[in-house]
Symmetry: C2
Subunit: 256 residues, 2 copies
Amino acid sequence: MREPDELRALVEQGLEDLVLTPELGGLAEPVRYALSGGGKRIRPTMCLATAEAAGADPVIALPAALALELVHTFSLVHDDLPAMDDDDERRGRPSTHVAYGDGVALLTGDALLAEGLRLALSYADGSIARELLDATLGMIGGQALDITGADIDLAELHRLKTGRLFAASVGLGLHVALVPEDAQAPWRAFGEELGLLFQVVDDVLDGDGYAARLGVDAARVLAADAATRARERLAAIPAETRVLHELVDGLADRTV
Amino acid sequence: MREPDELRALVEQGLEDLVLTPELGGLAEPVRYALSGGGKRIRPTMCLATAEAAGADPVIALPAALALELVHTFSLVHDDLPAMDDDDERRGRPSTHVAYGDGVALLTGDALLAEGLRLALSYADGSIARELLDATLGMIGGQALDITGADIDLAELHRLKTGRLFAASVGLGLHVALVPEDAQAPWRAFGEELGLLFQVVDDVLDGDGYAARLGVDAARVLAADAATRARERLAAIPAETRVLHELVDGLADRTV
């Protein structure tokens, strides 16, 4: 059983070794810039940990894990554009559009989405790419809610914008580990809790979203409840889930 | 053998009947707006005609054909954005970003790409989605050349930006018709000629690109040569290719 840090290192190495489509030409540089921002790699690490807990060698799950990180990064690059949130910084560095211009950043996001799906399609089992695509479409729907919704349902917004890709992180790990459909339910119930846990903690740290709407204390309670539910769901999975427990603790302990 | 107009009608009907991912919510409207611009539907029609010439019912090729049109439309919506070409009109109507705003248009393009790939993944044969993705990545690389290339190689630019998706229109038709790999070469040689033919004719009509660089007369000669090569490649295919011939004539006769 690999520890979270070992799995994270596997992801970092995989991103470094990633072979991009040669025809992307000069776009390879901004694509690698966007990917090298030093995020927490939570989604791909969760995917690898799920695959290993379900009985697969995490190395086999690496393309699926990287696909999740590329699709996540696509959403960040497009979100940061002036047409969306207009954020000049991302993790202490100039965001992609500040570093390379709006047009290149737009295409960089497009390329990240397409490369991510290409990685998912490297498996013979098409259900991996299908689940990633469905999650991506849900996420895009969530982003649309975010910029157009006057009377936003925060729970629905986050279920789409954050939750779909977190749930897919678990789902892709299950596909790679060949967990039969009829044995996936307890794992998926766990995956459904992760997005909310991540998002509420994030909102508490940033003082927006749930923290702004409910107050920080109430948001902390919501986060603690989400962490409790995630741990309960984990406990219901008939497998060794120690590493997944540690990942949940890491998600929760950012604030609570 | 269905005539080009019948195939085109099949595409229009397929676009009208297209079921979008419910989670896209309010994005469905701009997605349908972008798709309903009344283009010539050349790529999907070429895909259906190829599939039928190769022995398949074109109805079976419809999801692949629609996938090509969605990916093409994704590229138009993003190309029109202020960050790229900043075009306010597309086929006599306000472009998507003018009608719905830059942020929604950005997400609309993202959704079109993802929905297109979802259609391609509706086949059990993953090679359909793989070829579409590779072509999409080449096209994105071509768009990047277009906005960043100081000293542009026009042939390489168009091979990527236009040619890759045209070639895939033929390639996807072959996959759907289950043409074995070792029998695909003459078809693919034909597909490789289509992008240049389309682009040079387009440049003559618009007075830019090849027409601006070589002069209109020289560009006309280039277009006539491309049409001749396409017809020669078609003649080398051991199948009834009358409808494909008509499509080539349609592409060429826009100017010559």
